[in-house]
Assembly symmetry: C2
Homo-oligomer: 410 residues x 2
C-alpha cells in the first residue's frame, strides 16, 4: 500500500466498470466532491427534462398535465423505480413528502398496528431527526414513550412492550452499518414491527427489504439517489401490511377516489394510502429523471467500489496524516459508503479543505465526514483529496482565525 501511487489509482479507474457513469454528471473538475451522502451531484439529463416539464407540461399543458403528462401517477411511478434499489416490489414503494413527514406517518401507523404496546425503541445514536419525530409521535398519545438504548443493546431490548423498532440503516456519523436481517428478525420474534431509515444506504449498496422481511422503511431522494436538493423522499410498506395500515395525514391524494370529492375519507387501496397532499411536481420530475440512470447500475458493483474507495482513503490518511482517529468501522463490510475521522481541529481542517475544493462535511464535535458516491467518485479523487489533506496539515493551513470561527455548518 505504501508503494501506491497516483498512477496506480488511475489504473484502478481504468478497470472500474462504473467509471463511465461519472460523465453522466455535471461535475466541475476543480472540485473533489465527497459529500454526495448529503446532496448527490447533478445528473446531466435533469436540466433538460426540467425545462420540458416547466415549459411544455406546466406552461403549455397547464391543468391538463395532471392526466396527460402523468403527474397523478408520479408518486407510484417513481416509487416503482426506487423499488429495485431496495429489494422491494414496485407496488410497495412510493415517493412523496420529506423523510421527516414520511417517518411521522409510518411511526403513527405502526403504533396503530400494535395497540397494546407502549414503546418505540431506537438507539441513542440514531439520526437526530428520526429521534425528534419518534419523540413527537410518542408525545401525541398519552401512553406511549420513546426508549433509547445503545446500538449494541437493541436486540436485547426488544420486549413485549415494544410496538416499533426504528433505526437508521447506516449511522450518519460513523457510517456503521446495522445488520438489517438480524435486527428485523429479533423485532419480529418479539412481536414488534420494524421501520428502517435508508437515507444513508439507498443507492450506496444492495438492500433486500423483502429478503429481510422488513415491515416499513423510508429513505431520502437527494443523497445517493441524486434527486436534487430537498428531493421528495420515499416510503416502503410491505404488501402484507398495506390493507391494515392507517396513516394519520389523510389528505386527498391518499383517498380511494381523489377526484370524487366525497365528504368522507376512504383510504386508497395499497401503498397510495400513504399519500397526503399534492406532490411538488418539479422536484418530483428531477428525482424521477435522476432515477432513470439507476436502471443501468449494478448495485453489487457499487458496493464493491464503495468499499475499495473507503479502504483506500483510510489507508492513505493514516499513512500520510497524523492526529486523525478513525471513527468508522475499519472493515468495509461493516460500514456504508462514507468514512469519518475524529480530529480536535476538525472544523477548521474541513474549512481549509473546502477552500481547496475538497468538499466533505463536519459534524460536531470533531468529526470530518467524507462520502464516496461510487457513480462519480474516482480512485484518483481519493488520492488527490488526501494530497490536499496532507498539504493542509503540513502547512498548518487550517490554523487561521477565520477558519476556526465556527459559524453555521451544513
Amino acid at each position: 500500500m505504501n508503494s501506491l501511487t497516483r498512477a496506480s489509482c488511475q489504473a484502478l479507474d481504468e478497470r472500474d466498470c462504473l467509471s463511465s457513469f461519472r460523465d453522466e454528471f455535471v461535475l466541475d473538475d476543480t472540485v473533489i466532491y465527497l459529500d454526495g451522502n448529503s446532496l448527490g451531484a447533478l445528473p446531466r439529463t435533469v436540466p433538460g427534462r426540467l425545462r420540458e416539464v416547466v415549459l411544455r407540461e406546466w406552461g403549455q399543458g397547464l391543468i391538463r398535465s395532471w392526466n396527460a403528462a402523468g403527474w397523478m401517477e408520479a408518486p407510484t411511478r417513481i416509487g416503482g423505480k426506487i423499488a429495485r434499489l431496495i429489494g422491494a416490489d414496485r407496488d410497495e414503494v412510493i415517493a412523496t413528502d420529506s423523510t421527516s413527514v414520511n417517518l411521522f406517518k409510518l411511526m403513527v401507523a405502526a403504533l396503530r398496528l400494535r395497540p397494546g404496546r407502549p414503546v418505540i425503541l431506537s438507539e441513542t445514536g440514531n439520526f437526530p431527526t428520526d429521534l425528534y419525530l419518534a419523540e413527537g409521535v410518542a408525545g401525541l398519545f398519552g401512553d406511549r414513550q420513546l426508549r433509547l438504548v445503545p446500538a449494541d443493546a437493541i436486540g436485547f431490548s426488544i420486549d413485549a412492550d415494544v410496538a416499533l423498532v426504528t433505526l437508521t440503516h447506516v449511522d450518519f456519523r460513523s457510517g456503521r452499518l446495522h445488520d438489517m436481517e438480524r435486527i428485523t428478525a429479533e423485532a419480529h420474534a418479539a412481536g414488534a414491527l420494524i421501520l428502517w431509515d435508508l437515507s444513508h444506504s439507498a443507492g450506496a449498496m444492495p438492500i433486500e427489504l423483502a429478503g429481510a422481511a422488513v415491515d416499513l422503511a423510508v429513505g431520502c431522494g437527494y443523497k445517493y439517489l441524486n434527486g436534487g436538493p430537498g428531493a421528495p423522499a420515499f416510503m416502503f410498506v410491505a404488501r402484507r401490511l398495506q390493507s391494515a395500515l392507517r396513516q394519520p395525514i389523510t389528505g386527498w391524494m391518499g383517498h380511494a377516489a381523489p377526484f370524487e370529492f366525497a365528504p368522507d375519507y376512504t383510504p386508497a387501496a395499497g401503498i397510495a394510502r400513504t399519500l397526503s397532499g399534492t406532490p411538488p411536481v418539479l422536484s418530483m420530475a428531477a428525482l424521477e429523471t435522476a432515477l432513470d440512470m439507476w436502471e443501468r447500475v449494478d448495485l453489487a458493483a457499487v458496493r464493491r467500489k464503495a468499499a475499495r474507495l473507503g479502504d483506500l482513503f483510510i489507508r492513505l490518511v493514516e499513512a500520510r496524516c497524523s492526529g486523525f482517529r478513525l471513527a468508522s468501522p475499519r472493515q468495509a463490510s461493516e460500514r456504508g459508503s462514507q468514512v469519518s475521522f475524529h480530529h480536535p481541529q476538525g472544523y477548521a481542517i474541513m474549512q481549509a479543505l473546502i477552500r481547496r475544493g475538497v468538499i466533505g462535511d463536519f459534524r460536531a464535535p470533531d468529526l470530518l465526514r467524507f462520502g464516496f458516491a461510487p457513480l462519480y467518485i474516482r480512485y484518483v479523487d481519493v488520492w488527490d483529496a488526501v494530497e490536499h489533506l496532507a498539504a493542509v496539515m503540513a502547512g498548518g493551513e487550517w490554523d487561521r482565525p477565520e477558519l476556526k470561527a465556527r459559524a453555521r455548518v451544513t
Copy 2:
C-alpha cells in the same frame, strides 16, 4: 349589457391597469385558460430562474448552496413574500410542505392550545381534503370529534366544546366567500381558535389576517400564486400564538439548532418551529420566482377586476346559453374569483369546451367551474369563452359518446 360587443371588451382591456401582467406569463393564444384557480399559469421568469438553480446552485454549488444560495432561509424568505398578500407580518408566514400536511400540523397544534375542548367545527361543504384531515386529526385522539354544520349555522354552533373552527375562505364549488372577520370574532367570543384555508383566495383578493385577528391559516402555492404544479404551501401563525404552538411533525428543520444534531428536540423560536423536513428546493425556487411578480400587484385592483370578469361572464352566459343555473353568488362581493354553473350535461360540455381550448373544470355531479385569474385573463377572453360555450350548445357539440364517458377528471 345586451348591446355589449367584443369591441367593448377590448376597450375594457385597454383601460385595465393590470393588463400588462398578461405578457409576463407563458400563455398559448389558442387557449383560454379559466382554471388558474386550480393551477396558475407559468410566469416567464420561472424557466430561467430554475435553470440557474439547477445548473449553478445545485450543479456547481452542490452542498455549499444551503448557505451560499440561501436555501436554508427559503421557507421563511418565501413566507415573507406571501405575508403582504394576506395581511400578515413577514415573520408570521412560512412556505413548506403541502396544504394537507400544513393543515394537519396546525389542527393538531390548535387542539393542544385548547386542551379541554373536544370539538373541531367545520362546515359540511368545506373542501374535502380539509375535512379528511380534520377527521384524521380527531381520530388521533380518543376524545376529539369533528362536528359538521351547514355554512350558515357556523356562528350559531361555536360553543364551549369547540377548540377550533376551520373553514375554507372561498368555497371550491360555488366560489362563495366567507365573512372572515365576523366568523373569526364569533370563534374568539366562544373561546375557540380559527384556522382559515386561503387556498382559493390568496392572490385573488386582499386578505387581512391581522385585521381580522385570525389565529392560524394555510394556503396553496400553485393556484392564484402561480408557483407551479404542487408548489409548496404556506402557513400563517399569529405572532401571539407562536411561542406556545406545538406542531407534531418535529423534524430537524423546525429545531432551534438544526445543525447541532442534538439528541433532543427543541422547537425553533417563532414561525420556523412549524417546519419539519428538508423543503423541495426546486419547487420552492419556482414559487419564490412567481411571487416576485406580486410585489408590483395592487390587490384591490385584482379584486375589482375579478368581480367585473365574473359579472361579465354571468351576464353573457345567461343572455346567450340556456339550461345553465348559476351556482355562485350573483353579488360579486359575496364570491371569490370563480364562477360556477350547474348543468345536467356539465361533464360533456366541459370536455367539448376543453377541445376548443377553453379550459375550465368540472366538479361532480353537475358543476362547470370557471376561474378568472385577473393577472392574465382579459375581458375578451370572457367574451370568447362564452362564444365557444354558445357554439358548443347550439351545435350539440357535447352530445358525443366519447365526451360523455366520464373518466378521471381533474
